[in-house]
């Protein structure tokens, strides 16, 4: 940590270029930084900024088509000029890497123990038995319960969080001096992310490993890094100590990037800054209030999927993806729905949209039970009920032009319109969502992710719907694009009086856009509350844990934050716990929680499903 000791890693003028018939691409351009032993350096940037390319270049993992120049001094040697054999000895031994997706980074055909033992057999010439013993010790260290039993399991038998722990344990087996972590928590849920990041910090303190943490999340940087390097389009924009960069950013891009992230600790919603725009436009948002009339009413909704049998002759098993969910949605309101992956929020959306084959309970749109409508009436009702999906490109038919995609709902809902009239509508709408009317004849793959999402929004709007269900509409987008899409949705809502059901796993985004928030856990509602009440005074212990797990892009706040860390993983929905579904991870759990399923009841401004909702914060 001291400035006097020579840096462990000294990168100078690192460039990665690709030459193809389409021209030369500079993925990384003249990058230079240092990393001292025991220090954590964060590299942040949006997609295409070259941060992963940098990591792969250091590890010597780039494809042969990449031309790497520059110097990366590590331990007196230049990593970029090492022969393959030398590099192989160094990798896994002195430097290690953790990848974003633990499922694809682990070999699915080998047991965890076998994979971990191989590293030790190769680098430390241990016997199989000694290597396995050492692997078990390391698994203990990354807090994997029942480490010995885990060694005999295959990667697919574990949860995502457990797999990432195993990746970390494998990377740390030889006590490397440098660990490169490429988006180590991006594929994980926020409570698991908090566990993994805490674990990495603790291990670093124990082992003195230097960490190069690559991420797109400013919050993760604020909480975990000593220094940070901001990249854009392959170039370094700024580097410095976290406090400097966060509180006194010298570069415009850094400033925009920080302002573009919706923050959990923001007092009142304002328009998100858009990168490159001069000034944050004032918002009339605070004046916009939803009406009182109920547009959508969901009563005791339950969705089950058949999940095979328990054994050959056992009873048929069902996965209860949505388990007794009820809520109302007022016209003009935005209801945010949050929860971790597998909590049933997307299934809930599909049930409301009538895209599932069967569910029980009621979905009432303007008082009509949608499941009782015949096919023709249902088709007519779909006009009021539209959807925006997560993956902008996958939600557009690649073989159709933008004009055809957007106007398709009109063929059903207003078949009397002529082709020219449809086109006119499409072009007017393209302008409204921030695209050019000339774009009608283009194809989706010619647009960026953010533009594709705008096309998806235009398609949802063309029939003039009352309710739009947004299923993680910004999760796949970069921060700056996310800000644009959120601003667009909020503007459109205000202009057209739309009602939104906004599904997301990012609590800060949900806080920014919603009037009320519904928190789901294992297919059930944990809490429904007006936004301010929920974030100011979360009543359900799960809500509290979720909020406390979200990293805030503010280094000092992060250092002094008192976290309620949740242990363990979300239980399998095939076999949910008795009584309260959350009790296996709940700090307040008592005997009553296992026996009795808590009903949703009013506490203060909130509806909470917890026996101990009145008990104040622990």
């Amino acid at each position: 940590m001291t400035a006097l000791s020579p840096p462990l890693l000294d990168v100078d003028a690192l460039s990665v270029t690709y030459t193809s018939e389409r021209g030369v691409v500079r993925a990384v351009n003249q990058l230079g930084f240092e990393l001292a032993a025991g220090e954590t350096l964060g590299i942040v940037g949006e997609s295409g900024s070259g941060k992963t390319q940098t990591a792969l270049a250091l590890m010597g993992l780039l494809p042969a088509t990449a031309a790497v120049t520059g110097r990366a001094g590590f331990d007196g040697r230049n990593l970029l000029a090492l022969a393959q054999a030398e590099l192989n000895m160094l990798r896994g031994q002195a430097l290690s890497m953790i990848f974003q997706d633990p499922m694809t980074a682990l070999n699915p055909h080998l047991t965890v123990g076998r994979q971990m033992a191989r590293v030790l057999e190769r680098h430390q010439r241990l016997s199989r038995r000694a290597a396995l013993a050492e692997a078990a010790v390391m698994l203990d260290r990354v807090r994997v319960p029942e480490a010995r039993a885990r060694l005999r399991q295959y990667p697919h038998e574990m949860s995502g969080g457990m797999r990432q722990r195993i990746m970390i344990a494998t990377a740390l087996l030889c006590r490397p001096r440098l660990l490169i972590a490429d988006e180590p928590t991006t594929a994980l849920d926020v409570t698991v992310q908090a566990q993994i990041l805490t674990l990495m910090r603790e291990l670093q303190a124990e082992l003195g490993t230097a960490i190069l943490l690559i991420t797109h999340d400013m919050g993760v940087v604020a909480a975990n890094c000593d220094r940070v390097l901001v990249m854009r389009n392959g170039e370094m924009r700024e580097q410095g100590r976290v406090d400097e960069v966060f509180y006194r950013p010298a570069d415009d891009y850094t400033r925009d990037l920080l302002a573009a992230v919706p923050r959990l600790d923001a007092q009142r919603p304002q328009r998100l800054a858009v990168i490159g725009a001069a000034e944050v436009a004032p918002s009339g948002r605070e004046d916009y209030q939803p009406t009182d009339d109920v547009l959508l009413q969901v009563n005791d909704l339950e969705v089950q999927f058949a999940a095979g049998r328990a054994g050959w002759f056992g009873p048929r098993r069902y996965l209860r993806a949505v388990d007794g969910v009820s809520f109302d949605l007022h016209r003009g309101e935005t209801l945010g729905i949050v929860g971790e992956s597998g909590c049933g929020k997307s299934t809930l959306a599909r049930a409301v949209l009538q895209l599932l084959d069967g569910y029980s309970g009621q979905v009432l749109l303007l008082g009509h039970d949608l499941s009782e409508l015949d096919r023709a009436r249902l088709t007519r009702t779909r006009r009021d009920l539209q959807v925006i999906f997560q993956d902008p490109l996958a939600s557009l038919n690649p073989r159709m032009t933008v004009g055809d995609i957007i106007s398709e709902p009109l063929l059903t809902f207003q078949p009397e319109l002529s082709r020219a009239a449809r086109l006119e509508r499409v072009q007017a709408l393209l302008g409204k969502v921030g695209l050019q009317p000339e774009h009608v004849n283009r194809y989706p793959h010619e647009f960026s992710g953010g533009q594709c999402q705008r096309i998806g929004i235009a398609r949802a709007l063309i029939s003039g719907p009352e309710l739009i269900i947004c299923d993680e509409p910004v999760s796949a987008l970069d921060v700056s694009v996310q800000a644009q899409v959120i601003n667009l949705l909020m503007d459109l809502q205000q202009e057209m009086g739309l009602t939104l059901m906004f599904i997301a796993h990012d609590l800060a985004v949900v806080k920014h856009i919603s009037h009320r928030v519904l928190v789901m856990y294992l297919g059930r509602v944990a809490e429904i509350a007006p936004r301010d009440a929920l974030y100011r005074e979360p009543r359900h212990p799960y809500t509290r844990a979720l909020i406390s797990a979200v990293p805030i892009p503010d280094p000092q706040l992060e250092r002094n934050r008192d976290r309620t860390l949740l242990g363990g993983d979300v239980p399998s929905p095939l076999d949910p716990p008795s009584g309260c579904a959350f009790r296996t991870r709940c700090p307040l759990a008592a005997a009553r929680c296992a026996a009795e399923r808590p009903a949703l009841r009013q506490v203060g401004d909130s509806l909470v499903a917890c026996h101990f909702a009145e008990s104040s914060r622990p």
Partner: protein, 298 residues
């Protein structure tokens, strides 16, 4: 209204995935040579017989089993009954290509309709439709053909029927598999939410997205069908004299291989070149339509 139409005319045309694929195909030298060769073969087969003074049936009594010769205008020589092999090879090509295209077209139509319906409908309907496919698969092909021949006599259309009836099974399976994976894509859900009827979803959203795979499969099916026809003709179950096909010609030629090698060489060369061409075009198309290649360019 006119305003909108004007801007539509003015709006730049986008590049569809097909445009991209054709560009990438155009850069593939092997595939382009194959296309050129294929076109030459097709033109020859269609118009070549007009160049020759001979016809398909007539025997040239003076020149039985004559080697190729320019002066007599028997460019490919004659067979053991004095018929001109140039004309016969090209006529045979017509039959072989016709069988290849027609049987593939039959299998394409039935296969896509069957596979896409089964895949999209899912559940019981899918089970039922695919079990029908399994049952048909289990029928021994030669037995099926011989049975047809015995009942209806030797007839060129029977070959279309027989080959088509077998080949659509593969097509249906491939199309169903593709449909199953497409069905889960978000743009299909978006279409359902947009009130698009199942028939239109299959027509507008599923089938166009299948075509990439199907096109590749077609270019590999055509040569397969040509080979099957050749095989049937070789066994004597194919086309009827005096009509002929490449397979029948190769069969005849093989019997006089030692005394009149040209009778085997010319039809066999045509057959081989055609098969090569289709395979190269198929390979080229598969590379051109591979989405991974395209996304790398960004």
């Amino acid at each position: 209204m006119t305003g909108a139409t004007d801007t539509l005319a003015a709006a730049p045309r986008g590049r569809s995935l097909w445009d991209d694929a054709f560009d990438s195909l155009r850069r593939n030298r092997a595939a382009m040579i194959a296309v050129a060769l294929m076109l030459t073969v097709v033109v020859l087969v269609l118009f070549g017989p007009l160049l020759s003074p001979y016809d398909l049936y007539s025997t040239d009594w003076d020149r039985i089993s004559q080697p190729p010769s320019v002066s007599t205008a028997h460019w490919f020589g004659t067979d053991d009954v004095g018929r001109d092999l140039f004309v016969r090879t090209l006529y045979g090509g017509r039959i072989s290509l016709l069988v290849g295209l027609a049987a593939t077209a039959v299998s394409l139509l039935i296969g896509i309709a069957w596979g896409a319906t089964a895949g999209y409908a899912g559940g019981r309907i899918d089970q039922l439709m695919m079990r029908v496919v399994d049952v048909l698969y289990a029928m021994p092909f030669m037995f099926f053909v011989i049975l047809l021949m015995v009942f209806f006599g030797r007839n060129i259309f029977l070959i279309f029927v027989a080959v088509g009836a077998i080949n659509w099974l593969d097509m249906a399976r491939i199309v169903r598999g593709q449909t199953l994976s497409l069905k889960k894509r978000e743009f299909i859900e978006a279409a359902r939410a947009g009130g698009v009827s199942p028939v239109n979803i299959v027509r507008r959203h599923i089938v166009p997205n299948l075509l990439g795979v199907v096109v590749v499969y077609v270019t590999l099916t055509i040569p397969q069908v040509i080979l099957v026809e050749s095989f049937l003709s070789f066994l004597g179950l194919g086309v009827q004299e005096p009509m002929t096909s490449w397979g029948a010609l190769v069969n005849d030629g093989a019997q006089v291989m030692e005394t009149a090698p040209w009778a085997l060489m010319f039809p066999a060369t045509f057959l081989a070149v055609t098969l090569f061409c289709f395979n190269f075009i198929g390979d080229g198309l598969r590379d051109a339509l591979d989405p991974r290649d395209r996304s790398a360019g960004g």
